[in-house]
Amino acid sequence: MLLAKVYVTLKKAILDPQGKAIAASLHALDYAEVSEVRMGKYLEVRLQGVSPSQAEHRVEEMCQRLLANQVIEDFRFEIIQEERGTPQ
């Protein structure tokens, strides 16, 4: 089975209220070393019966059509082989 790990992040210039609030809390917890937090999405998409190369192009398409909102988000993904039934 193939596992596509999809990372969806806010475009650089777009305000990230969540990241901002999390960074503030981390500072309040004395993690002064934290300079910035950006919040994104991580999706695990499991695929069956397609070749890695097909998957490449299908997942790219899924991201563009549904998984990422390209008005405000960027995405990237990687595809790995997964031994049956051991999704991590």
Binding site: P17, Q18, A21, I22, S25, A28, L29, M39
Partner: protein, 226 residues
């Protein structure tokens, strides 16, 4: 009886809770500020609804670290009455004062509506004024009110009668169709072992005036007065 209502940044129903307590129920109620660990000698604490810190990481996650919460946790562990409504319930879970967690509604939609809950435990400090199995009409308004816990936790909750409220239908039956958010076992509210800390997703503070739709919520506050 002196009540304290905590205001976190992003709390919304804090003012409504204060109005409910001092104006409607004629109680002595004071606002507690998230940056101030001093509880000002209150006898009971309300953690109100809203979106503390925007609920930006997880609901209630960021609030639990605010200075006042350290005192609230001590207060609760010493047996002080603490009522968490909606976001307050989420904060109590994040703070570990109540087991389990509240996640996104199964429908993935925010739900604002009036529901019925059945009182399952009348021995908590906030339900002594209720009849066993009494049905209360209360409003809900949340996007993340689906109560979850792992099997053992859920089992012990049930075994110890820590489930305080369940979503019920008009006939008072625990009907999946009456479950607005997918909570396990239709759980709307729970208590801790000592029954001094109660958290629920519905908003009793918004059900204390007939003009505004109902008065069943009074029972929770009056329990502490009787």
């Amino acid at each position: 009886m002196k009540w304290g209502v905590v205001t976190f940044p992003g709390s919304n129903d804090d003012r409504d809770s204060l109005y409910c307590l001092d104006t409607v129920l004629a109680q002595h109620a004071v606002a507690l500020w998230h940056k101030d660990p001093d509880l000002h000698g209150v006898d009971a604490i309300v953690l109100p609804g809203g979106y503390s810190y925007g609920d930006y990481l997880r609901c209630g996650a960021l609030a639990r670290f605010s200075p006042v919460m350290h005192s609230v946790i001590e207060f609760a562990q010493a047996g002080g009455p603490v009522l968490g409504m909606c976001n307050g319930f989420q904060i109590l879970c994040e703070a570990g004062l109540l087991p389990g967690a509240l996640v996104r509604n199964q429908s993935l939609l925010y739900v604002g509506d009036w529901v019925r809950v059945r009182v399952e435990n009348t021995r908590t400090v906030f339900t002594t004024a209720c009849q066993d199995k009494e049905i209360l009409a209360l409003p809900i308004k949340h996007g993340e009110g689906c109560y979850v816990a792992d099997r053992p936790t859920l089992q012990s909750l049930e075994d110890n009668g820590q489930v305080v409220f369940r979503y019920a239908n008009a006939a008072g039956e625990i009907d999946p169709a009456a479950n607005p958010n997918g909570s396990l076992n239709n759980i709307a509210g729970i208590t801790n072992r000592q029954a001094n800390v109660v958290g629920l997703m519905p908003h009793p503070e918004h059900a204390v005036e007939a003009l505004l739709g109902g008065e069943d919520g009074r029972k929770l506050f009056c329990s502490l007065l009787s």
